[in-house]
């Protein structure tokens, strides 16, 4: 009778809610899995809260970059080195991964495990492509004489994009965990919401990149 927790399921609703006969005041029954006051599951609401908090983290880092982007006592400034065509392509790759993520969520909602695995793997692959592009970009900048400690602008650039890269990487780990869970048969259609929550995180990371790409790379 052992049941594993889903990936994002930090406290399965069954443990805390099963004993609580939560009914909506007007007597309408929601069933156990939606027995929350708002009708949104605890896990999904928690992810939304977390993403709200992340906005402020990136807000601080983006502000820092905007303040420092021209502050270089020595060494090149970041926007002297940007290769916009290259970064545009890798940004496009990341954007497309949001599409495949949506397709993955839709697949598990239909109960189509094979499509789920294909789209999750594609999403992870696209994310990994983006990260490879970032690593390549960083190494080029390093060769051209702009390291993390070169000047204030470079510190701000690497910190901001590095934080984003770490977020994407964590997202890839989550996607791979979904893939493994699906392969081991631990992700039935009823758990579609777990994939949806991973998707929320993934889309958030994408949206942040759109912002970063615009204000860091495109606006001079």
């Amino acid at each position: 009778m052992r049941r594993l927790r889903s990936l994002t399921d930090i406290a399965a609703p069954s443990t805390t809610e099963a004993g609580i006969p939560v009914a909506v005041p007007d007597g309408e029954s929601h069933g156990l899995s939606h027995a929350t006051s708002t009708g949104i599951s605890n896990e999904k609401l928690a992810m939304w809260c977390f993403l709200g908090s992340e906005c402020l983290l990136f807000g601080g880092l983006i502000s820092t970059y905007l303040l420092y982007k021209d502050k270089a006592v020595r060494g090149p400034k970041p926007h002297e080195l940007y290769a916009i065509p290259f970064t545009s392509v890798s940004s496009f790759v990341l954007l497309m991964s949001s599409l495949t993520m949506v397709l993955a969520v839709s697949a598990i909602q239909r109960g189509d495990q094979r499509a789920l695995r294909a789209w999750i793997a594609t999403t992870a692959l696209l994310g990994a492509t983006f990260i490879s592009g970032q690593v390549y970009e960083f190494s080029v900048f390093l060769k051209e004489g702009m390291g993390f400690t070169t000047n204030a602008a470079s510190s701000a650039f690497f910190t901001l994009t590095g934080f984003h890269g770490v977020h994407v990487t964590i997202g890839i780990v989550m996607l791979l965990s979904v893939l493994v869970l699906s392969l081991r048969g631990r992700l039935p259609q009823e758990r579609a919401e777990a994939v949806e929550i991973v998707g929320l995180y993934w889309h958030f990371v994408d949206v942040v990149w759109i912002l970063i790409f615009t204000v860091v790379y495109l606006i001079k």
Binding site: L4, I10, T15, A18, P21, P25, T38, G39
Partner: protein, 672 residues
């Protein structure tokens, strides 16, 4: 409709289902007594008590540091502390009192009370709750370990750049400040997510948002502030950490780094932070005053919305901490205005507390005295706060003892008075015995007198020009007398807390003798104060499962309305005996979240990553193994302990609804 009658699903052969258990030392803990039960608990009530206990431990440390400061400043040319040591002591006093005392005491109340007040059996994520507590504890211990490892942080609790850089602060002190507070920040973030979800999602049937007790409301606002404020501090701390440890250039003026960036980021966190500390205390007194005035809270919606208004406006006033930093006349004017405006919702609250007491049948028990202490002392602190909003005056007051006087009036006179009142009020609910009221009154008056002796004179000293953060002063400036008074006051405060400590021990001994339970469990009546909210419906101390039966809520102050009704002319009339409406706590068949080792394992690794970044990466490897192992164990742990005595829900009982319908429900439910 609980799981009580759900039968265990049997195998076709008729034998009970086979279970597998993860083995070894990390087999799922079973016990609910002894030290293991505390280390592995996920019970919000035990965690609340642990938050409070740990905060008291840090309170002793932070209080000791305060006494060192006061002894040093008692007379001119004090010799007790060197300038360097004095910097460490005042930095750690501020950091400890804010992050390791006031915030966790607030967390203690919120953890313990929120589920009880909204009629839930636990928080939304019990293991995450435990993880938050251990992060707070280990982060605090790591921060304080800097005393033993050479040099404590010495940049003030605000750690202004570039003073916090390696050039001006070459020891590892500020690195400890960074790491320790990043870890306690994780505690705040997970706690915020957990409690927000709990309040929004776990309310009992009928408990709409506008039927929630004001304490729960203020806790909700506080958690939203934490959710959005902590990441700003986190980003600032990452920048400082990269500067100090990896040679980045954020705050190095020679590299074009801008010290104002730190000030902005820090105070965008730092100003909401002051509301994070005070709002829970506002919530506490909003619960206490109606009970001891025997009247409903005056203007409940105003109370709620002024709290929300404070939560919003708290984001628009941060630069009043920076009037002297040269941010320009337009910014100064704008932030002056917004700072004056934020006094309005606070004033609404004070008016409502007074109006609640007006015409009430006042009973001056200890909790009530401390609450009135908050109302009066916070008003003084609030008024001196408004004087800071006047920028020309503020430039004179900046960095003087006037500021020190102000924020101690709001944080000690405000938050701490409220919290101590809360201890006296909910002590019976948590521990099954009441604190002695006479000793409580002695405690109150000593604390009130000591507090005013300590911090009242600082107004005068500040206006005379005595600078803060300076380790001594010379004879002949006219500072001698009031400094001596202030030091005497600090010792009076110390005595008042010794009275509290004695009260706790003596009251417990007396209760044990009276009940004849030896070292066993103390119990007392469910509703000693004739309370109003749901927690008083439960036996004292609260049973592990909270509610035998989750109450259906029909009105604000639900429990009160189950006891009292109104006659036609509006006179109060008892409609039910208290014993008949309280729950018995006898239900033994409630399904509870199982304890777990993983939260503490995961949190235990974090300080070692911090030590690793400071000293040697080998520590970080050790810490990393702990963290990764903790996450793995956490995820793989079965959600329901197969060996636990309670029933599992039937498989298939958790059939999900089609998502479209759920979305429609969302909308309907949110309107509540």
């Amino acid at each position: 409709m609980s799981t009580t009658d759900a039968a265990l699903p049997a195998l076709p052969s008729g034998e009970p289902p086979r279970t597998t258990r993860p083995g070894g030392v990390f087999a799922r803990p079973q016990t609910d007594t002894g030290w293991r039960s505390w280390v592995t608990t996920v019970d919000h009530k035990k965690l609340g008590i642990m938050y409070g206990t740990a905060a008291l431990f840090f309170f002793v440390i932070g209080g000791g540091e305060a006494l060192l400061i006061r002894i040093q400043l008692a007379t001119p040319n004090g010799k007790l502390l060197s300038a360097d040591l004095y910097n460490q002591v005042f930095t750690m006093h501020g950091t400890t009192m804010i992050f390791l005392v006031v915030m966790p005491i607030g967390a203690a109340f919120m953890n313990y009370l929120i589920p009880l007040q909204i009629g839930a059996r636990d928080v939304a994520f019990p293991r995450l709750n435990a993880f938050g507590f251990w992060c707070f504890l280990f982060g605090g211990v790591m921060l304080n370990s800097s005393w033993l490892l050479g040099h404590a942080p010495d940049g003030g609790w605000f750690n202004y750049a570039p003073n916090s850089g390696v050039i001006f602060s070459p020891t590892h002190g500020i690195d400890f400040w960074n790491m320790g507070l990043l870890i306690t920040g994780i505690a705040s973030l997970t706690g915020a997510i957990n409690l927000i979800v709990t309040v929004l999602n776990m309310r009992a049937p009928g408990m709409t948002m506008m039927k929630m007790p004001v304490f729960t409301w203020m806790a909700l606002v506080t958690q939203f502030l934490l959710l959005f404020a902590i990441p700003v501090l986190t980003s600032a701390q990452f920048l400082l950490m990269f500067d100090r440890l990896f040679g980045a250039n954020f705050f190095k003026t020679a590299q074009g780094g801008d010290p104002l960036l730190w000030e902005h980021l820090f105070w965008i966190f730092g100003h909401p932070e002051v509301y994070i500390m005070i709002l829970p205390a506002f919530g506490v007194v909003s619960e206490i005053i109606p009970v001891f005035a025997r009247k409903p809270l005056f203007g409940y919606p105003f109370m709620v919305f002024s709290g929300i208004a404070i939560g919003f406006m708290g984001w628009g006033v941060w630069a009043h901490h920076m009037f002297a930093s040269g941010i320009g006349p337009i910014s100064v004017a704008a932030f002056s205005m917004s700072t004056m405006f934020i006094a309005v919702p606070t004033g609404v609250k004070i008016l409502n507390w007074l109006a609640t007491m007006w015409g009430g049948k006042l009973k001056f028990s200890s909790p009530m005295l401390f609450s009135i202490g908050l109302v009066t002392m916070f008003t003084i602190g609030g008024l001196s706060g408004v004087t800071h909003a006047v920028a020309p005056a503020d430039t004179q007051q900046t960095d003087t003892y006037y500021i020190v006087a102000h924020f101690h009036y709001v944080l000690f006179g405000g938050a701490l008075f409220g919290f101590v009142g809360g201890w006296y009020f909910w002590w019976p609910k948590a521990f099954g015995y009441a604190l002695n009221d006479t000793l409580g009154k002695v405690h109150f008056w000593l604390m009130l007198i000591g507090f005013n002796l300590t911090f009242g004179p600082m107004h005068i000293l500040g206006l005379q020009g005595m600078p803060r953060r300076t380790y001594t002063y010379k004879n002949g400036y006219g500072f001698n007398f009031w400094n001596m008074v202030s030091t005497i006051g600090a010792f009076v405060i110390t005595v008042s807390f010794l009275v509290l400590a004695y009260n706790i021990l003596a009251s417990r001994r007396k209760a044990r003798k009276a009940q004849g339970v030896g070292t066993g469990r103390l119990t007392m009546a469910a509703d000693p104060w004739d309370g109003r909210s749901l927690e008083w419906m439960l036996p004292s101390p609260t049973p592990a499962h909270n509610f035998d039966e989750v109450p259906v809520v029909r009105s604000l102050d639900e429990f009160w309305h189950r006891k009292y009704g109104e006659e036609e002319d509006g006179r109060l009339v008892r409609i039910a005996a208290t014993e008949d409406v309280v729950q018995k706590g006898t239900n033994t068949d409630v399904h509870l979240p199982s304890p777990s080792y993983w939260p503490i394992v995961l949190a235990f690794g974090l300080p070692f990553i911090g030590y690793g970044l400071i000293y040697s990466l080998w520590f970080a490897v050790l810490g990393g193994i702990c963290v990764v192992g903790g996450i793995y164990g956490w995820v793989m742990e079965p959600s329901v302990d197969p060996d636990a005595g309670h029933h599992d829900p039937e498989p298939g009982a958790t059939e999900p609804e089609p998502s479209g319908e759920a979305a429609a429900d969302e909308e309907a439910a949110l309107v509540d």
